[in-house]
Amino acid sequence: MFGYILRRILAVIPVMLLVAVFVFLLLRLTPGDPAAILAGDMTTPAKLERIREAMGLNEPLHIQFAKWIGQLARGDLGTSLISSTPVSSMIASRIGPTLSIGVLTILMSVALAIPMGVLAAWKHRKGADYVVMTFSVLGFSVPVFVTGYIFILIFSLKLNWFPVQGYVPLSQGLGAFMTHAFLPALTLTTIYVALIARMTRANMLEVLGEDYIRTARAKGASERRVLFRHALKNAAVPILTVIGTGFALLIGGVVVTETVFNIPGIGRLTVDAILARDYPVIQAMILLTSFLYVLVNLVIDLSYTFFDPRIRY
């Protein structure tokens, strides 16, 4: 097991290097000029050239790449070309909101989706199944910005239960945190509930048709025991994969929700950096997201052993 984990962690290095080369070249080949953003619209061509020179953007690509890799090797993610702020401190101040909303979303989604999926499978082709599946299709189909604005309209502007926007860290109290985080998390939950509930239903249906389920029922096991002890545990591996990849997606892809609810997370940081062609920030964010994907996949793979004893590393 330990050897396996070590091998997987070491395998991260070439993956990250490839990502680094790819993102560096892709950004340099994309039209755009951070110097123009920095200088503003009224700048003259001559001043723009001076700023490019001062930023090091006129150096040959291989020199720029070597400097960046050298910085990375020293654990330095660089400095924003636009705000002159260290990228690491920018990420540090923005990752908290994204992580906490992501964790809350996954908790809420799992708490709702697994019982819903089990219920839908258990009541296959009956009323409950159709209700769950209708909700799932809606959750998938309605864009988050629509769901978000509907929730804001109902729960914030009409009922005054929650603020319209903003983020308060957990360190300022659970109440304040939940008041601000609940609506964004609920908005994202509509998608992930749909995703996880459908996956749970599909796998449960497959497992419920197995011989050992019939045997369990024949032995007189209660329906709850059959569903949750025998069926769900065996259906858990693909569900876990969906939850894990869903979490990784959440970290990298919550920009719309962050924008609608004005949450200063890393999704908005990345999009803002892309719009401003702030190369060091974009590079760091893509590396970080790739690393998180690799890490989450590793955790998922390891967690399989808890649900399926046949899996060994």
């Binding site: 001043k47 001076r50 636009i82």
Partner: protein
């Protein structure tokens, strides 16, 4: 007795509570603050930030007239020496007094990056601090626009920084944000692109005169001002409806119905002059290297449809052919009659025929991600086609456009022929600072016109003495700029702002400022 004691205790508790309650104005500005050095960039949000924390020697009143702010001035009889005297009570946020040496260092750094500053420096014999409070500026020859340029409110006003900060090269961003303005920058609370907080500077001594434009006393009536960036304007609208924010600087016209019915809100156009939208042509490549074809493009365009598509409601736009802006002191509409009246298409067709236009496609760059620039290219493309131009409208994001507009290559090889941008009217109201009126070829703004005549006319403007003579010189500049088509003015617009009714006494200046403003409980 017991009643009196209870009342006194209650009153004292309430007063203490009121004193403790921090009064903060929360505002959503037109964009997020990321660049903090106002001398490095012409970005409006950075200029707005600078007005919060720095002060200026002179400032323009609501009539664009220079007025004393940090300093009064005297001009010698030969009009070649200006002596500025700093007023009493000026202190930086680190308690150090503001000295003439700080002002000289700041002016020198500013002049490296500002077009107007460079023009002044070309005519400067010496600029020195003659004592702690006196700055003596000696010119080689009289230069009438000096006070006007020193007091300008955009794009780069000469903000005064401590000498230790201003001695840094102009192409390297400052990292010490000590100013002497009415607010102090809360550096530890700053999140680039997310939020910025300014606290009242308790040691700031405002001038005695009432606030007028950017001039007069900067009296701060709140404890703090917080600018919050919201990526989606709809979120800002929801937030002001729920009372979570106090002010939105720029509103899109199509969202106004959401706010106009709310009795707690005021929707208004704050800026008296607003923005100019305009088209710039590339002088280096066919077909716009031909003056007659440039003129044909100007005649082909009618402002009304362009502005209607952009702002929708005529309340928020003004048809205006003035190169130096309508509502500005040097306004003139000479040469732009067809733009205003929309009746130049036949003339455009005749000019194209006369010039022998061979159908060379013109590459019109159209940004899709900037709301205030997205519609004009579409309307203009059709107007140019109606006159006989072969238009290749290429859509792209603004970042791609700003990169591509710096290219002097032929349009077919990644260059361009025409693009549109917007300016705050005070930025372009002065022929010396207006980037479109630079005719120095490769050293000119993107489009690179080589135009000796405009340079001569600007020299005449500089030499003109008195308002009447300057106005006459500006009229000639207007005539030539439209004749040579240094730009095509497309009109003016001013998007509305929204504030909760608890916010009062906001100054109707082009730059949104937060002094004078009050917030009721």
């Amino acid at each position: 007795m017991l009643k009196k004691l209870t009342a006194a205790l209650l009153a004292s508790t309430l007063m203490t509570g009121a004193a403790w309650a921090e009064k903060t104005i929360t505002a959503v500005m037109h964009s997020g603050l990321r660049v903090l050095d106002p001398i490095m960039t012409t970005a409006h949000i950075t200029r707005n930030h600078a007005y919060m924390i720095y002060d200026v020697l002179l400032a323009q009143d609501s009539n664009f007239e220079p007025q004393p702010q940090m300093a009064d001035w005297e001009i010698s009889e030969d009009k070649k020496t200006y002596v500025f005297t700093l007023r009493d009570g000026l202190k930086f946020h680190d308690d150090a007094p503001v000295t003439a040496a700080d002002a000289v260092a700041s002016l020198n750094r500013w002049a490296q990056n500002d077009a107007g500053g460079q023009v002044i420096m070309d005519r400067t014999e010496s600029l020195e601090a003659t004592d702690d409070k006196t700055i003596t500026w000696t010119l080689k020859e009289p230069f009438a626009p000096l006070l006007s340029i020193l007091s300008k409110q955009s794009a780069i006003p000469p903000f005064i920084m401590p000498a230790r900060v201003a001695e840094q090269p102009a192409d390297e961003a400052v990292t010490d944000y000590t100013g002497s303005g009415p607010f102090i920058f809360a550096e530890d609370e700053f999140q680039p692109g997310v939020s910025v907080t300014y606290r009242k500077n308790p040691d700031y001594v405002p001038r005695d005169e009432p606030a007028d434009g950017m001039a007069g006393g900067k009296v701060v009536n709140v404890d703090a001002v917080k600018w919050v960036t919201m990526g989606d304007i709809q979120t800002a609208v929801n937030a002001i409806l729920s009372g979570e924010i106090d002010y939105i600087e720029v509103l899109q016209v199509d969202l106004l119905p959401l706010l106009e019915g709310d009795p707690n809100l005021t929707v208004e156009v704050r800026e008296p002059v607003g923005y100019q939208t305009m088209a710039r042509l590339n002088f280096l490549h066919p077909p716009f290297d031909n003056q007659k074809i440039r003129q044909a493009a100007l005649y082909a365009i009618s402002q009304e449809p362009v502005l209607a598509a952009m702002a929708g409601n005529p309340e928020y736009y003004t048809i205006c052919g003035a190169v130096l802006g309508c509502g500005a002191p040097l306004e003139s509409a000479t040469g732009a009659e067809t733009l205003v009246e929309g009746n130049g298409v036949d003339k455009a067709k005749a000019l194209l025929e006369e010039a022998g236009y061979d159908g060379t496609p013109i590459v019109l760059m159209a940004p899709t991600d900037v709301v205030t620039l997205a519609t004009q290219p579409v309307v203009i493309s059709q107007q140019l086609r109606d006159a006989g131009f072969n238009v290749d409208m290429q859509q792209m994001d603004w970042q791609t456009l700003v990169t591509r507009r710096a290219s002097q290559s032929a349009p077919a090889d990644g260059g361009w022929n025409i693009f549109i941008t917007n300016w705050l009217v005070p930025e372009i109201s002065d022929p010396i600072s207006n980037p479109m009126l630079n005719g120095q070829g490769d050293d000119a703004w993107f489009g690179w016109p080589t135009d000796e005549k405009i340079e001569e006319l600007k020299a005449e403007f500089i030499a003109a003495e008195g308002a009447e003579a300057q106005k006459a010189a500006a009229e000639e500049i207007q005539r030539h700029a439209t004749d040579n088509v240094l730009l095509i003015p497309l009109g003016q617009y001013g998007f509305p702002q929204a504030r909760r009714n608890t916010i009062t006494d906001m100054i109707p200046s082009p730059v949104p400022v937060f002094w004078n403003m009050k917030k009721a409980d």
